[in-house]
C-alpha cells in the first residue's frame, strides 16, 4: 500500500522520527508546567491535586496512551535507523575528522540514555501508582475525599542521591538530544527557509537548555529540601 511504502522509505522513516519527536517536545512542556506545582512549597498539596486531576481526566488518559505509543515508535524506529546507518556508513576511516555537531552524530546513544532514564522514571512513579496496589502509595485528604499522595512518593524517590544523579544524567542526555533534534525535526519536514532558520534554531537552543534545566530543578529542589 502507498502509505506503508511511504513509512518504510528513508524520508518516511525520518518523518516518523520528526513528528513523534515534535509530539514529545510538546508533551514535555505540559509535563514540566504541571510539575512546577512541586515548587508551591505546600507539602505537595498543589501537586497531588494536579496529579489526581490528570489521572482521572479521560482526555488526558487517551492522550497518555498516544504518548506511550509515540515514545515506543520513536525509540524503535530511531534504533532501527541507527543500525541501518551504521551498516550504510561502511568501513571506518583510519583518520577520522567528521564534521557536524557531536549531538547530531550521537542521537541514538543519547536516545538510549533518555530511554534508560524513562524506565527508571516510570518504574518509580507511574508503575507504583498504577500497579503497586492500594498500599504502595499512601492516601491524603484535602477535603474532597481520598487521593493518592504522589508527592510523598516523589519525596521518597528524590531523597536517594543515586536517583537524583540518574535524573541529572538522563536530563543532560535529553538536553543534547534536543539541541540537535529540535531544529533537525524541522529540516526533516522540509520546513527550511533562510528567513526562519535562525528563529527555529534559536527556539531549539532555548528549549533544549531551559526544559531539561526545569526538570532537573525538581529532584535537586526536593533533595535539598529534605536534607537541609
Amino acid at each position: 500500500m502507498w502509505i506503508t511504502r511511504f513509512l518504510t522509505s528513508s524520508i518516511g522513516q525520518k518523518w516518523v522520527m520528526s513528528l513523534t519527536g515534535l509530539f514529545l517536545i510538546t508533551f514535555l512542556i505540559v509535563h514540566l508546567l504541571g510539575n512546577l506545582a512541586i515548587f508551591a512549597g505546600d507539602n505537595g498539596q498543589a501537586f497531588n491535586v494536579y496529579a489526581d486531576f490528570m489521572v482521572h481526566n479521560p482526555l488526558i488518559k487517551a492522550v497518555s496512551f498516544g504518548l506511550y505509543a509515540f515514545i515506543l515508535i520513536h525509540a524503535i524506529q530511531g534504533i532501527l535507523i541507527a543500525i541501518q546507518n551504521r551498516k550504510a556508513g561502511g568501513k571506518a576511516y583510519a583518520k577520522k575528522d567528521t564534521q557536524g555537531s557531536w549531538a547530531s552524530k550521537n542521537m541514538a546513544l543519547l536516545g538510549i540514555l533518555v530511554l534508560a532514564f524513562l524506565f527508571i522514571h516510570m518504574g518509580d512513579f507511574w508503575f507504583k501508582a498504577k500497579f503497586g496496589g492500594d498500599n504502595a502509595i499512601a492516601a491524603v485528604n484535602y477535603g474532597n475525599g481520598d487521593i493518592k499522595d504522589l508527592y510523598s512518593q516523589v519525596a521518597i524517590s528524590f531523597s536517594k542521591l543515586w536517583i537524583v544523579i540518574a535524573y541529572l544524567i538522563g536530563l543532560l542526555a535529553l538536553a543534547f538530544h534536543l539541541l540537535h533534534g529540535f531544529q533537525s525535526a524541522f529540516q526533516t519536514l522540509g520546513l527550511n527557509h533562510s528567513k526562519y532558520n535562525p528563529i527555529i534554531r534559536g527556539i531549539g537552543i532555548a528549549y533544549g537548555i531551559l526544559v531539561p534545566l526545569g526538570f532537573a530543578a525538581l529532584p535537586v529542589y526536593v533533595y535539598f529540601q529534605q536534607t537541609t
Partner: protein, 253 residues
C-alpha cells in the same frame, strides 16, 4: 618538501587492503594529484605497482578525483576538489593519510578507486527531463525568475563526486540526490515531472542501500561545490508532496 604518505592499497574489491608508507618529495606549487604522480613514477622506477586513483579533468569539474585526505574527502580546503588542492597547504615533514571514500554503497575497486554506479542508477531513475529532440529551443523563450534560476544553477553545480556520502557517518546520499532533484525541480522544464522524479530517485537511492539523513550536515561542509542542505529540505517537501498528492506516477508494485 619531503612528505610521508600513508596510503591505502587494496588489490581488488574482495581483497583485504592495508596502509602502505611512502616517502615523496613534492614542490609547493604542485597539485595534490601531481604529487601522487611523482609517487607513482617513483613506484614504477622501483618496479612496484603504482597507486590506482581516479582523475580526469584536473580542473575541478568531473568529480572523479576522490580520496579522503587526513579524514577529509577532497582534503582540508573548503569548496575544493583534490585536483585543485595544492601542496602549498602542507609543510616539510608532514605525514598525510590517504584513504578511499568509505560507504557500503561505494565498494572499493582498487586502491583509492571506488565504484559509484549507485549514483548513475539514481540519475537513471529520474534525473532527467523528457523532451523530444529537435531544434535547440530559443534561449529566453521560457522566462525563469532570477531567484529560481540562481538556486537551480547552484544545485546544478554538483559534480556527482560522492564526497557527501563519504563525509556522512550514515553513508547517506541525500545531498547528491537532492541537488539533482532541485536543479530540475526549480525550472519550468523540469517542474512538470517533479512528483514522479523525486519519488523514483528517492526510492532508487533507498534501494542502493544509502543511509538515512540525520541532518549532521557534514556533507555540506565537505562538498567541493558547497551544495546547501536547503536542497535536502526541498527534496523532503517534494517527496512527501508527491506521495500525498498522488503525483508520483504509475507505481510499479
Amino acid at each position: 618538501m619531503n612528505l610521508t604518505l600513508k596510503i591505502w592499497r587494496q588489490k581488488g574489491p574482495s581483497a583485504a587492503g592495508s596502509f602502505e608508507e611512502h616517502k615523496v618529495h613534492a614542490e609547493e606549487d604542485m597539485s595534490f594529484l601531481e604529487m601522487l604522480d611523482v609517487l607513482n613514477e617513483q613506484l614504477v622506477h622501483e618496479k612496484k605497482e603504482p597507486v590506482a586513483f581516479e582523475h580526469d579533468c584536473r580542473e575541478g569539474i568531473c568529480g572523479t578525483c576522490n580520496m579522503v585526505i587526513n579524514g577529509h574527502p577532497h582534503g582540508p580546503q573548503r569548496g575544493t576538489t583534490t585536483c585543485q588542492l595544492h601542496m602549498r597547504h602542507y609543510n616539510d615533514g608532514d605525514t598525510i593519510v590517504i584513504e578511499p571514500f568509505r560507504a557500503s554503497s561505494f565498494p572499493v575497486i582498487k586502491d583509492l578507486v571506488i565504484d559509484r554506479s549507485a549514483f548513475d542508477n539514481i540519475i537513471q531513475a529520474g534525473g532527467y527531463i523528457s523532451v523530444n529532440t529537435g531544434q535547440a529551443p530559443d534561449g529566453n523563450a521560457i522566462p525563469v525568475e532570477k531567484q529560481d534560476a540562481s538556486q537551480a544553477f547552484d544545485a546544478a553545480t554538483c559534480i556527482g563526486c560522492g564526497a557527501c556520502v563519504a563525509a556522512c557517518p550514515n553513508g547517506s546520499a541525500m545531498l547528491f540526490t537532492s541537488a539533482k532533484v532541485s536543479h530540475l525541480a526549480l525550472l519550468p522544464q523540469g517542474e512538470v515531472e517533479n512528483g514522479k522524479r523525486v519519488y523514483d530517485m528517492v526510492n532508487q537511492m533507498d534501494k542502493e542501500g544509502f543511509g538515512r539523513c540525520s541532518n549532521i550536515t557534514a556533507c555540506e561542509a565537505e562538498c567541493p561545490k558547497e551544495i546547501s542542505v536547503d536542497n535536502i529540505a526541498r527534496m523532503n517537501r517534494l517527496y512527501v508532496k508527491s506521495v500525498f498528492a498522488g503525483t508520483q506516477g504509475n507505481e510499479k508494485n
